[in-house]
């Protein structure tokens, strides 16, 4: 039976890993800090996947970001998904060459369908994850691109239909309202859209503890839960959370079982 997944997301901005709150970024530490506090060679056994996003506002340096990825992924044997500011085939190629197993795209999904098609043809749809940032206003769900700064003219349901028509491999759905709050995912919106999606859905934004991860995993149309909370899962946070989640009966891979 296909397992659901727990994903850890790292938000990177101008050489620092950050804690994002409603898309306002707070510097936490550089790669050395991260390696000291999150040993991915060990922690990877509590995770199913790692997502690394360059959220630098304005101009992003893909080459600097790719260089950081290549250092981060040494001896980590889980899928690495990387992105942020991918605008061309050569941007994508650089990330793949530096250790990304998949790429995550946001603004270019909306603005450059031709690029998405070309990437799918070369790397396969399973290599492309569409990142979708949205806010809830009354009962409407508005979609934003360019690191949450520009609203588009499609609502969330319309935009998800457009993304599915592009045939990207997965959808990473992130609530700007809940981002970094630790109050839990935007369960109402997730339940409204998840059932009708034909692509695997990763939910993000708001998870503060393992209860939130469990509640997210128990939604039928959700394939994976992501957290980017650098503070709440520090040290043994992730291994402990995974144990609690497995003990709760959720269908996730149990790495400890065979060794």
């Amino acid at each position: 039976m296909l397992r659901k997944r727990i994903i850890f997301s790292l938000i990177y901005s101008q050489s620092f890993f950050t804690q994002s709150r409603n898309f306002r970024l707070q510097k936490v530490g550089n790669l050395q800090w991260l390696e000291k506090n999150y040993k991915f060679q060990d922690i990877a056994f509590s995770l199913d996947e790692l997502v690394v996003i360059d959220a630098s506002k304005g101009k992003k340096s893909i080459s600097e970001f790719a260089n950081m990825i290549s250092q981060l992924v040494n001896d980590v044997f889980i899928p690495i998904c990387a992105g942020g500011g991918i605008k061309s085939m050569s941007d994508a190629e650089l990330l793949f060459k530096n250790g990304a197993d998949k790429i995550i795209m946001n603004t270019s999904i909306y603005e450059n369908a031709a690029l998405v098609k070309e990437l799918i043809q070369r790397y396969g749809s399973q290599s492309i994850v569409a990142s979708v940032d949205y806010k809830r206003l009354n009962n409407k769900k508005e979609v934003y691109i360019s690191d949450g700064t520009r609203k588009i003219n499609l609502n969330l349901e319309e935009y998800l239909a457009y993304i599915e028509s592009l045939n990207v491999g997965e959808i990473y759905l992130n609530s700007i309202d809940k981002d970094g709050t630790g109050f839990g995912y935007d369960f109402d919106s997730i339940r409204e859209v998840s059932a009708s999606l034909s692509k695997p859905l990763i939910i993000a934004g708001g998870a503060g503890n393992e209860k939130h991860l469990i509640e997210g995993l128990s939604i039928q149309g959700v394939s994976a839960v992501a957290t980017a909370n650098l503070f709440n899962f520090i040290g043994d946070g992730l291994p402990n959370a995974r144990k609690t989640i497995i003990d709760s009966g959720q269908n996730i891979a149990d790495w400890s079982k065979y060794y």
Binding site: L2, R3, F45, F77, I80, Y123, Q126, S198, K199
Partner: protein, 205 residues
């Protein structure tokens, strides 16, 4: 130990090469040249992306002839991973119809989804039922989890020592025929299970 990863310009191979180096393989190189592949102790055929595009690149670079000689005639051990595994089969219906390398009697088709209740691609860890005669899963007990990410799958009625996985339907997660092995999943992204499996390929093929 020298392992050559077949380089035909498709997708990312850094994860595979760094995993082999981690496992202590002294010589890991990328190449599509006959002379270099001929010197390999073992060959890995990787690949992500489209079957038809991959076959075009393989034929263009005469990799089909190289592998036919080294793997089929000279019996050099070969492991196909993901798309690389599918390419070893007879054909795929991806982008119409494409002929494969035809080393293994298996055909590749899109996942059946009659009730539209399956999310495609099939992404994530799923459990494999190892074939009783398998060498790849030696010292891996139970129904181990491996990381899959694919929309097309292989079926076979031939005796290819297939280990099966289920996603809506049963499909070939791996096969082993003499010196040829193929895995639909990514061992290099499958934690300890994947490391053990690759070690078994290195030690036992």
């Amino acid at each position: 130990m020298k392992i050559v990863i077949v380089d035909y310009g498709m997708g990312n191979i850094k994860s595979i090469s760094s995993t082999l180096i981690y496992l202590g393989v002294s010589d890991v190189i990328l190449s599509s040249k006959y002379e270099e592949l001929a010197q390999a102790d073992k060959i890995i055929l990787p690949g992500v992306g489209s079957f038809s595009q991959a076959m075009k690149q393989i034929v263009l670079n005469k990799i089909d002839l190289t592998l036919a000689d080294l793997v089929m005639n000279k019996k050099k051990p070969l492991l196909g991973i993901c798309l690389g595994m599918q390419l070893l089969g007879m054909s795929s219906t991806e982008d119409g119809f494409s002929k494969g390398l035809c080393f293994i009697d298996g055909v590749v088709t899109l996942f059946e989804n009659p009730k539209l209740d399956l999310k495609i691609p099939h992404v994530g860890f799923n459990q494999v039922n190892p074939d009783a005669n398998s060498l790849l899963y030696k010292n891996i007990t139970g129904t181990p989890d491996f990381y899959f990410t694919h929309s097309y799958k292989m079926l076979s009625t031939a005796s290819i020592s297939a280990s099966m996985c289920t996603y809506g339907e049963k499909f070939v997660a791996s096969f082993e025929v003499d010196n040829i092995a193929g895995v639909q999943f990514h061992p290099e992204l499958s934690q300890n299970n994947g490391l053990k499996l690759l070690q078994n390929f290195i030690d036992r093929f």
